[in-house]
Symmetry: C2
Subunit: 94 residues, 2 copies
DNA sequence: ATAAGTAGTTTATAAAATAAACCAAATAAT
DNA sequence: ATTATTTGGTTTATTTTATAAACTACTTAT
């Protein structure tokens, strides 16, 4: 009947992050912050959760003298997103 | 970019309840419990939240000698669900 | 030097979901 | 008839999650 919704992706901000990274393949902290409208603190935490789950890779570097955190979706992340999309459809297409 | 996800509907169980009621127009507590696999306690709470929001009507009656709680979606609930479906699409159709 | 801004992280608080315990009545077993 | 057991829930308590606020470290401008 209803498929299970992966709780890691069933979060407005984390879903937005993954959705962004699916189409972009790579995006930095500031860009994600702008696109999602999230606060830095919340974004920092949700990125870390996605990283711990193996859904994204996080690369910390410097852009000039400023630190720059870049995120990239992993193969596991792509699969998880695709599964989530299938699952949510079981709720919205009756 | 990303549309806001109504937090009342962005909950696995509440979304399942509303999704059921969209297609059925009416369902009782036991049936919803079976279809969603929710525990009675959790279901009781989530039904009350949907009722308070005006998304469903809850009618308490007796079926023979047993109490029976029947739920029915409201016009407001239908609109909220339709809006939610539009919003979630902004995350899953890139 | 001092103030203000950038790019984050950490800690604390509020909100949500879930589980466990409970209640009242009905039915089944001894 | 009295003691379980089940049904149909509600209430309370605990855990998890999300959000906001405070903080760190460094940079740029005054």
């Amino acid at each position: 009947m209803f498929k299970e919704l992966n709780p890691l992706l069933h979060s407005e901000l984390r879903l937005a992050i993954i959705s962004l990274l699916i189409s972009l393949e790579e995006a930095d902290f500031i860009y994600i912050k702008q696109q999602t409208g999230a606060t830095a603190g919340n974004l920092s935490i949700q990125i870390e959760k996605l990283r711990t789950a193996g859904y994204i890779d996080v690369i910390k570097s410097f852009k000039g003298k400023m630190p720059c955190t870049t995120c990239k979706i992993t193969a596991q992340g792509i699969t998880a997103f695709e599964d989530y999309v299938e699952a949510i459809k079981s709720y919205i297409n009756k």
